[in-house]
Structures are given as C-alpha cells and as structure tokens.
C-alpha cells in the first residue's frame, strides 16, 4: 500500500492503524486531564468542605458560589469524572489506542481489516468526547445522575439542574461512543480472525492480542444493551413514554403524570453493559502485563494456555453477573444467590490469572525498568482490589457495604488501578516503538513510586472510611455526627490525591519531552520477542515489507541465555534458546 504524503492524510485523517492508535492515546490522555482535575475538585470538597476557594470562584463562577462548591456541581463532577475516566480515558487509551496500535503489528498484518471504518471510529470517538465536554457549558450544567444514569433522576428533565440538557448531551455522547467503540471492536475481531500472518496460530498469539480479542467480543455483545437502554431513556425524556418512570412519582410536590415503568429495568440494561465493560478494560491490562513481565523476567510466562482459557472463562462469566451491582434493589433472594455464586465463581479464573502472573516471576532474572515496575504494581493492585471484591460479590456483605466508600476504594484499585497501571506499563514499554526514543527512566521511576504508594494511601483508606459507614456521592459529611470520625481520613486522602495528581503531571511532561528529546534507541530496546520489535521504530506505513512468517510462540526467553537470551517470533531455525 502506498503511503499518503500530505500532512493531513498522513497524520490527521489517517487510515494507518498506528496513527489512529496514537490519536486515540493522545485524546484519551487529554480527557484524563479533565477527569483527573474533576477528581481533585471532588477531593478538595471532601477534604475541606467548609474552606472557601476564591480563585476557583473566579475560574468557575457557576460551580463555586461564595467560594464554596455548589452541591449541584458536586453531583455533576462525580458523574463526569466516572464517565470520562471509564469511557473516555481507559477505553480510549488502553482498548482503542493500544488495541489499534498493537493488534495488527503483533499478528503480522499490514493494517486493520477495515481501515476506513477505523478512521471513522476515531473521528466519531473524538466528536463523542467533545460532546461530553460540551455538557459542562449547557444550561443547568453537565449530567448529574451518576455515571450509571439511574432513572428517574436521569429521566425527568426537571429532577436536578443536571437532569436537563446536560443529561441529553450525556446520552448523545454515549450513543456516539458506542458507535465508535463498536467499530473498533469489530475491526479487532475481524483482524484477528482474518489477518494473522502465516504460522501465527491462535495459540501462538501474544497474550496482548488474546486480551484485546476477548475484550472486543465482550464489547460487541454487551454494548447494545446500553444502546437499547439509552434509546428508551431518550424517549422517556423527550417523547412522553414511561419505560423507566415508576407510577406515583412526586417531584417538587407535583405528581408526575406519566408512570408505570420500571427504574430497575434500566439498572439491568445498564449493568448488562456496565459489568462486562469492567472486563473490557481490565482484560487488556492483564494481557499486556503478561507480555511485559516476560520481557523483564527474561523467561516464558507461566501457564500460557491456562491463562488464555482463564481470560476467556472470566470474560464469559463477566457477562452473566451484572446483578451483583443491584443486591439492594429489592431483587428476589434467589436471584441474589445466583448473582453471588456466579460472581464468586469468577474468582477462580481470575485467581488463576493472578497465580500465572506470580508464577511468571518465579525463577526469572528480574531487570527492572519503569514498564516492569508498573507491571509488578499491577499484580499488587489486582491482588488487593480482588480481595475487596470477595466481600462485595457476596450479597450478605454487600448489603452492608453497598454505596459506601468501600465500593469506591475497591473499584478504584481494580478499574482505576489495574487498568491505569496497565496503561502506564504499556506507554513506557511501547513508547520507543512509537517514537524511536525512550522515556526518561528517572522520572518514570519517581512516577511509579509516587503513584503506587499514593494509590494505596488513597484507596485503601477509602475502604476503611467505607467500613465506618461513609456513603458515596455525598456532597459533605459535616451534618452527620457519626461521620465526623471520617474527617481526618478524608483530609488525608485528599492530600494524597493531590500528590498523585502532581506525579501524573510529571508523567505528561516526561511523555511530551521524551517525544522530542528522549534518548534515541534501537528497534528492540527491551529485547522482546513479538513481531513489532522486528520492525524499525516507528514502523513504516504498511508495517511489514514482506509478509512475516511466524515460527514460534511469543515467549522464547531464557533466563540463563546471556546476551542471546531470546528469539523473536519470526526467527527461523533451531539454533535458539528453546525454553518451552
């Protein structure tokens, strides 16, 4: 395929999966800055609820009245923080970004199966992100019904200020997001099925590709439920239907005439997407982690086959456990029992994955650079976060802990810890492939240590605040005597959050600085085995000059091999260190 020459076709309206991947990564990080700043505003409020911030009032007069955050803005901030981080940061950077960048390279293809669809996916995705940001500037402000958009709060335009135009904009943005994400997922599945290089059997695919493949299949099957829900919610909001509006609802002293619907129906539809979405985000982080661990332990990963099957099994189970988010919704105890049992069943494949990761370290020759450190940090987050999940997956314990900060702490270690650590590990690892330069190692290490320690200080403490009974989504705890004991913890969490936030600014500086000034490196600085490392950095348009032939699995490392301790998947011949 010929390479386009004009700047516009080459870097802006590009059909090249690598450019599209980087576009997604940059867009995702831009959104992360917005989502991250929102979390800092939330922490300022929770840490020091009575302190006045005149500077914030100057910057955001509608959000800060008399220097203190307005309660309506607090609701909008938590809603938008959750939405942006889950859908527009992790989904974009990790799944759409790295999925696009890595899948064709690692299966030995020249591009995605449908490059035009891929470009459309990015541009629709960008519009979706911009529409979501726009919600802050419409009358009434951004959506405020939580990232789960539960009706009737989200269905009645007059419920709270954010339930007005902001909620409609939220739904429009999510609809565009689903279209964009479906296009990417379709491309990943089609590429894996139809474009693998000769010799790249399914069981020779790197874990990274496996995890993107499973995540994409899950996305394709789970997202339509939210599409259906969003269409019905839009009709409830604008066409007078009553899919989700219950009978006898009174708003502002007036009886809402429309009714008879079921708010629980929305919860089922939302969580039929929402829970698999967690796996859509986490599985790629786990898959990537296996590949990075192998390069930094210089040995094959432990239990490749069983890890692949465990990811598939956990993906399948992840599709049928959504009700565990609804234990307190008044569901039948039999349903609760089913959802508890199926949720706890997931611990089996997930524990297998965790053990495989730990086993991958055993006997390895650990040579740690920043990507390897983040890979280790991920295992730690996965263990700690998963441990909290054991309590929440059990209906008996969850009824006590539901909607407390225990839940907030838990999911920030999993969906906000495992995925973010996977994202950072991937950035530090593949940055040299993208730009031909290394990121600064010292800054990387500082970034790792502050982020890891900070994460634990913030989110473990939140577990304990939750055990003390602090409910999530509350604007301030001052009015409740029993919550006065959490004031110091909240202040402590907020200080830790500011420090972690500062470390992320350092990461962004490192990323941009290294693009232009980073140390130039050769094509394979980590001496890794997957196909992309056999290409120049950055790889040329069309990737492979001649279609590659794959001769071995991706984990041909030997901890005792000295300088020649690895063999790339494309290397032919028997004279290489064979380890498995």
């Amino acid at each position: 395929m010929s390479e386009p020459q004009s700047f516009l076709r080459k870097y802006i309206f590009s059909l090249d999966h690598k450019i599209i991947g980087i576009q997604y990564i940059v867009t995702g990080f831009a959104m992360a800055i917005v989502g991250g700043l929102l979390s800092l505003l939330i922490r300022l409020q929770l840490g020091w609820p009575t302190v006045m911030w005149p500077i914030l009032e100057t910057l955001m007069p509608n959000a800060y009245q008399s220097g203190v955050m307005a309660p309506e803005f607090y609701l909008a901030a938590v809603t938008m923080h959750g939405t942006i981080m889950a859908f527009f940061f992790i989904s974009y950077v990790l799944v759409s970004g790295f999925g696009n960048y890595l899948v064709p390279l690692q299966v030995g293809a020249k591009d995605m199966a449908f490059p035009l669809l891929n470009m459309l996916s990015y541009w629709i995705g960008l519009v979706s992100a911009l529409v979501m940001i726009m919600a802050f500037f419409v009358e009434g402000g951004a959506a405020a019904a939580g990232w789960t958009a539960y009706p009737p709060l989200s269905a009645l335009p007059g419920a709270v200020p954010g339930s007005g135009l902001g909620q409609s904009v939220w739904l429009l943005s999510m609809a565009l997001f689903i279209v964009s994400f479906t296009m990417t997922s379709l491309n990943v599945v089609a590429t894996v099925f139809s474009m693998r290089a000769k010799g790249m059997s399914m069981m020779r695919m790197p874990m990274t590709v496996w995890s993107f493949f499973i995540a994409s299949v899950m996305g394709l099957l789970a997202f339509p439920a939210l599409t259906a829900g969003a269409i019905m919610l839009l009709f409830d909001r604008h066409a007078g239907t009553a899919f989700f509006l219950p009978a006898g609802l009174i708003i502002g002293g007036n009886l809402v005439e429309v009714g008879g619907g079921s708010p629980l129906l929305w919860q089922h539809l939302f969580w039929f997407l929402g829970h698999p979405e967690v796996y859509v985000l986490i599985l790629p982080a786990l898959g990537i982690n296996f590949d990075i661990l192998a390069a930094f332990t210089r040995k094959p990963i432990f239990g490749y086959r069983i890890a692949v099957w465990s990811l598939i099994l956990s993906g399948f189970l992840g599709m049928i456990v959504w009700g565990h988010h609804m234990f307190v919704s008044g569901m039948s105890p039999f349903s609760g029992e089913y959802f508890s049992l199926s949720t706890l069943l997931i611990t089996i494949p997930m524990a297998v994955v965790g053990v495989c990761m730990l086993g991958s370290l055993w006997g390895g020759r650990l040579k740690m650079a920043t990507p390897g450190l983040f890979a280790l940090g991920l295992i730690s987050m996965f263990g700690t976060g998963g441990f909290g999940g054991l309590f929440l997956g059990n209906a008996t314990a969850d009824i006590q802990l539901h909607d407390t900060y225990f839940v907030v702490g838990h999911f920030h270690l999993m969906i906000g810890g495992v995925t973010v650590f996977g994202t950072f590990a991937a950035i530090y690892f593949w940055f040299p492939k993208m730009f031909g330069r290394l990121m600064n190692e010292t800054l990387g290490r500082v970034h790792f240590w502050i982020t890891t320690i900070g994460y634990y200080l913030i989110f473990l403490t939140q577990h304990f605040v939750g055990l003390q009974g602090a409910p999530r989504r509350y604007y301030a705890f001052g009015s409740y005597e029993y919550l006065e004991q959490t004031a110091t913890s909240n202040e402590f969490i907020s200080i830790a959050a500011m420090v972690v936030g500062a470390a992320q600014a350092m990461f962004i500086f490192n990323f941009v600085w290294s693009m232009f000034r980073g140390k130039v490196t050769d094509t394979n600085p980590w001496r890794a085995t997957t196909l992309e490392w056999s290409l120049p950095s950055p790889p040329p348009h069309g990737n492979f000059a001649t279609p590659p032939v794959v001769h071995r699995w991706p984990y041909e490392y030997s901890p005792d091999g000295g300088e020649n301790d690895f063999a790339g998947q494309q290397v032919d011949g028997g004279n290489v260190p064979v380890t498995a």
């Binding site: 199966a113 139809s194 474009m195 009709f235 899919f243």
Partner: protein, 199 residues
C-alpha cells in the same frame, strides 16, 4: 461469479471477500444483542406493570411480513444466479427484491399511518411505544440493507460478463447485502410474532 473467476483475482481478493462477510457477520451479532436487549425490556416492562394495554395492529402487517419473506427468497435467487455468472437472471431477481423492499416500506408507512389515524402514537401505551421503536429501528437497519442492494443493482446493470473484476464488484454487495437482508427478514418475523402474539 464462478470459482474460476475468483481464483483469477488472487488470494488477497479472496481474503478481502472473506473479511467483508466476516465484518457483516460480526455486525449482525451486535444487532442481535440490541434486539435481544429490547426483547428482554419488552418482557420485563410487560410483566411488571399495571398499565400495559395491548394495541390493535393492522392485519395487513401479516401481508407485509409475507412480502419481506418473499423478498428474502428472491434475493437469494439473485445471489445464486450471480454466483453462477447468470447476470441477466440475477438482475431480474434483484429487481424483484428491490420492488418488494419498497412495497414493504410502503406497508410499514401505512401501518404507522393507520395507527396514527386511530389515535395511537408512541407514548399512548407501553405496547405502542415498543411497536414504534422496534419497527422504526428495524426500518433503519433495512435502509442500510436497501443501500447495499441499490449499489448491487447499479453494478449488476453494468457488469461485463467474464470480467472477474467487474463480476466481483457486482456480486460482493449483493452477497454481503443478502446476509443483512435475510437477517432482517428473520428479525421481522420474530418481531411481528412478539408484538402480536405476545402483546
């Protein structure tokens, strides 16, 4: 497009054809889940509420059902004729399909009009809400199918027999479009049964 013609175009083209069919297959998987989600909502909304009131649907919708099923059969005949390289017959059957498709759309519009005239609109009852949304969504997907078949029709009219490139260009939208069209015909039968017999 006979097998010999395909092989003349090389393995890359064969792979591309496979990919396009695969892409449509994956897309149909997500559409199945979309209508599956609506179906479960239909069951839940219907079984948990006091205000469910079934609306009377016009009986000519069954005739319309027959129209879309026959259009599916005629499209299959067109596809098989195209595959065998008999482009005249393919053109006739494809033309028949397009006429039947327009007839179906006409029937669909008439059904909406009929309900409207009877004073039934989207928010009238939960059953009418589902009827309008599901048939509307089905129609949107049908439009995509019609666009593909339209492209196929234009290319079949200009196809040069025994030119593998031209034959492939005519056959591909017909073949991929047929996947979508058969699916939508089956989906329609499912929807009409759900909306009438389980109202």
């Amino acid at each position: 497009m006979n097998h010999a013609a395909t092989s003349q175009l090389g393995p890359d083209v064969a792979q591309r054809d496979f990919q396009l069919h695969l892409g449509m297959g994956i897309f149909l998987g997500t559409v199945t889940m979309l209508f599956g989600a609506f179906s479960s909502a239909y069951i839940v909304r219907g079984s948990t509420s006091q205000d469910w009131q079934a609306i009377q649907l016009p009986s000519f919708l069954w005739l319309n059902t027959l129209v879309i099923v026959i259009s599916s059969i005629s499209l299959e005949l067109a596809r098989r004729a195209g595959k065998a390289g008999d482009w005249r017959r393919a053109g006739i059957w494809l033309g028949t399909t397009l006429v039947l498709a327009m007839l179906f759309f006409g029937g669909q519009l008439a059904a909406w009009e009929w309900l409207w005239a009877a004073g039934i609109s989207v928010p009238s009852t939960p059953h009418s809400s589902f009827f309008f949304i599901l048939t509307g969504l089905h129609a949107v997907h049908l439009l995509a199918g019609l666009a593909l078949l339209g492209v196929a029709g234009a290319r079949v009219m200009r196809v040069s027999a025994n030119d593998p490139v031209s034959e492939r260009r005519a056959f591909l939208p017909m073949s991929v479009g047929a996947m979508l069209w058969h699916f939508l015909a089956a989906l329609w039968v499912y929807l009409i049964i759900m909306l009438t017999l389980f109202a």
